[in-house]
Symmetry: C2
Subunit: 139 residues, 2 copies
């Protein structure tokens, strides 16, 4: 585990400091996009400074190790970028964020080009609603 993280850092020509390894692992373990503060909280005792987390995440994004995720609340979150472009289901009851394993927009992008002369290079889609658990156990 530890080695894998170091390898990733080395591969991206980033010095494999203890802080970076732990930040990368925390991001990986989370399985969902994390806010900077959340990530910092997860680093446990003797953790790197919050400022270091900010700087490290910037580095990770610049190196395409991580990417930012933007949801409707306007808060920037980060996730590991080793998977394909991804969307999320955000439960408005409990706040849980679940990755959405599909992405079908070729028709929409074709429409944008036809009707607006707009060539789509990227898109953002987020769905909000009630997750299974909250539907079964309403508050």
């Amino acid at each position: 585990m530890n080695h894998a993280a170091r390898d990733v850092l080395n591969h991206h020509a980033l010095r494999a400091t203890d802080g970076r390894v732990r930040i990368l692992e925390a991001l990986r373990d989370a399985g969902r996009p994390l806010r900077v503060g959340e990530l910092h909280d997860r680093l446990g005792t003797d953790r790197p400074d919050l400022v270091t987390v900010y700087r490290t995440l910037d580095r990770f994004v610049a190196s395409a190790i991580a990417r930012t995720v933007l949801l409707a609340d306007g808060i920037r979150r980060y996730e590991i970028a080793d998977q394909r472009h991804q969307h999320h289901l955000t439960c408005t009851e409990c706040g849980r964020i679940e990755p959405l394993p599909f992405c079908e927009f070729s028709s929409l992008e074709a429409l944008a080009l036809q009707k607006h002369g707009f060539r789509v290079t990227d898109h953002m889609l987020e769905l909000f609603g009630t997750c299974r658990d909250c539907a079964h156990h309403p508050r």
Copy 2:
């Protein structure tokens, strides 16, 4: 024009102060989502305080006169809410934001429910790319 704005405010049980009328008109005239600072700048001389713009926009959102728009940069923007739920094309070259007059997601929402037990109540979609003008006049 002025009367129309006052009517809207009265209809929502908001006192029709000069500042609110001007903020509502500016939002209307913009034709695209505005940041708080942008909106404030557009209010011209003897304009209300920036704090008032913040408070007024909160009121407008609470009264469903306006709504917030969130794009990939994480900056909150506001637009008049008198039209249907809307998406945007954002040009990454010139920054222009263009409304997208369609929204087709029933199939996606059905899929989320089937596969994830997730009932979608809202969604956000933003497309990014190169607009017609920038494609014709590259920098």
